[in-house]
Symmetry: C2
Subunit: 369 residues, 2 copies
């Protein structure tokens, strides 16, 4: 088995292309990871997700630990086999969803106890348990347990929260079972405060990780502040490890973050938007439910290679959404995932050609919103 590794390929300003090698294959970066929350990218067959150009999926520890449980997934041969995806999988640590979905949370030095949003049962998540769960799932990339600092937070709150996350990161590293081809990522916290972000980045590097994520963004701070945080956080991270911006984002967020040196992204936007009738196109977003599409024989996008655009008209998709037919969400999700992967592929080609600035300017100019 090859070791987990990251190879830089080309640079263009702060942006870079590269290749992450894992136990289940390679990931071309900058990469977008479709979200398969509960062991499925909603409405999609894994082979269809692969066909859009996705190299890696994200699974949610919080959802899987509650149902069907990590132990059941392990008994059935691990998450790859369970969901029939043979490429790399990254799992988050569950910390973020504990904060956003569960009830009666209590955070201590030890970890977090919470009530499941499904049945009210009580669970404990510690750095050690987060490592155990992700090991049972068989994740190619494991994330440390962290506390996602709320937004807004005072500097003191952000500092206290970040320092707890750094102690949890150390315990995560100690509990992580090393295996060739499997990696562990740390997560930079520190709110919107430069010196806290820098302190966090330094603390994580002292522990040593296979990659570094930027957490605590896309929590309502807006794109300007997010980019500002990236402007001072990314330079505090090592060049030779992948950088992952968690939970981001809209297409323009991704372009802007790649320009600032980010290599990996995940977000529910393309799948969630697809389920609700919103499609991404070069000009921005369209809502297929709008009456203007009712008799439109053209596809969502003329040059798109996805199954949706190859065979179906906007009028048909409009009809499917009006009739609340499952095939509507299926086809629009497919298109949006293709849009995101085509964007990443375009970004990688632009970096390799040394023309990312032009690509980004052209991209942003076409967006109407």
């Amino acid at each position: 088995m090859q070791n987990f590794s990251f190879t830089l390929k080309n640079q263009c300003g702060l942006a870079r292309t590269g290749l992450i090698t894992t136990a289940h294959g390679d990931i071309r970066t900058p990469a977008f990871m479709p979200v398969g929350t509960a062991g499925t990218v909603k409405g999609m067959l894994p082979e269809s997700v692969k066909a859009t150009g996705a190299d890696i999926l994200l699974g949610n520890t919080y959802h899987l630990m509650l149902r069907p449980t990590a132990e059941v997934v392990a008994k059935l041969g691990g998450l790859h086999k369970f969901m029939n995806w043979d490429g790399p999988i990254l799992t988050d640590s569950g910390g973020f969803q504990v904060m956003s979905l569960s009830k009666l949370r209590k955070i201590t030095e030890q970890g977090v106890t919470f009530q499941s949003h499904l049945d009210g049962n009580s669970y404990e998540l510690t750095p050690e348990r987060a490592m155990e769960i992700q090991h049972l799932l068989g994740s190619d990339i494991t994330m440390v347990l962290d506390e996602c600092t709320p937004y807004p937070a005072t500097e003191a709150q952000a500092a206290t929260s970040m320092q707890l996350s750094m102690r949890w990161a150390e315990r995560s590293k100690a509990a992580f079972k090393e295996r060739a081809g499997y990696g562990l990522f740390g997560i930079v916290q520190g709110g919107m405060h430069q010196h806290l972000r820098e302190e966090s980045a330094k603390a994580l590097q002292a522990i040593g990780f296979d990659g570094y994520a930027v957490g605590g963004l896309a929590v309502g701070e807006g794109q300007d502040i997010m980019f500002e945080v990236l402007d001072y956080t990314v330079p505090a991270l090592p060049e030779n490890k992948p950088r992952y911006l968690m939970g981001v984002g809209k297409p323009s967020d991704i372009v802007g973050a790649v320009l600032r040196g980010i290599d990996m992204f995940d977000c529910v936007i393309p799948t969630r938007s697809g389920r609700f009738g919103r499609a991404y196109v070069a000009e921005g977003e369209l809502n297929i439910k709008n009456a203007c599409h009712a008799e439109d024989a053209s596809p969502i996008e003329n040059n798109c290679t996805c199954r949706c655009c190859a065979h179906y008209s906007r009028a048909y998709l409009h009809h499917l959404f009006k009739a609340e037919e499952m095939l509507g969400p299926i086809l629009l999700t497919w298109h949006n995932l293709q849009y995101y992967q085509s964007l990443m592929s375009g970004i990688r080609a632009a970096i390799d050609a040394g023309k990312l600035q032009e690509f980004a300017a052209d991209f942003l100019e076409r967006q109407k919103d």
Copy 2:
């Protein structure tokens, strides 16, 4: 363009194999037609339906005339192009759904007026309009407008209703625009009364159709009565035309009806059952939501060739249904459609081998329910 035709291949008792030739290709009989009510087989891509072995789909005139309307479908190139299915399509006349779904129905000699269940708007469906709509949709097999006789009905009610349907059948034939490769089927009515069924079959043959359907069954009368009606109705139909039992049925209904000389079937059971977690297997039905499947690593059926059984465990499907993930209905629908097509393929092979009785006995013995 070839003419619409039916070629008998082999007979085994009253059962037969054959080939229907249409404008959009051939249909091997006995055939099961998956139902694509509103221009989509729920949750399935057309190419996936095709992969299960389906030669022909059914579309519902009632749903399509209300939304997106036959005129819009025609403007967009017809139903085949609209839904990306290049094989044959049969459309019903809308009469059955007017009775079961619409509000404020009024039947006169002229036709039926009703309120849409979608928006309350008033519509009229006459034999002539039913022909026009199906022509606009581009159906390979058009069904005459009939009144589905309610069950139970007195002999007098059944006679009055059947006679109205026969006058509508004559008007349907007169209004049907003949085109090479496109066929028109009549529908035998007459309730559960032998002499009315025979009178209806005779009246239809005097008009002359490309195929003959048996309507007004699977309305609550039970399998015994249904088979009894077939026992005296099928012999009243011509040998050299396809015979279509509308809206049927469970696997055992199909086996029994083929034994009695039926060539074509349609039913929502495989797709609807799949959406609700019920899967067809050799032993009958299983409910994937039952706890006994929660850790079962085996597929729905060991020898099934469908995408669901090739890649996914019962445990994974159980999880998808518990988590209310779209992929659950998608995969079980796929399996059930494969089950039905494999059943039809087994039936055709048994007829060709002169062994349908043995096939049927073996099939029924394995069913536990």
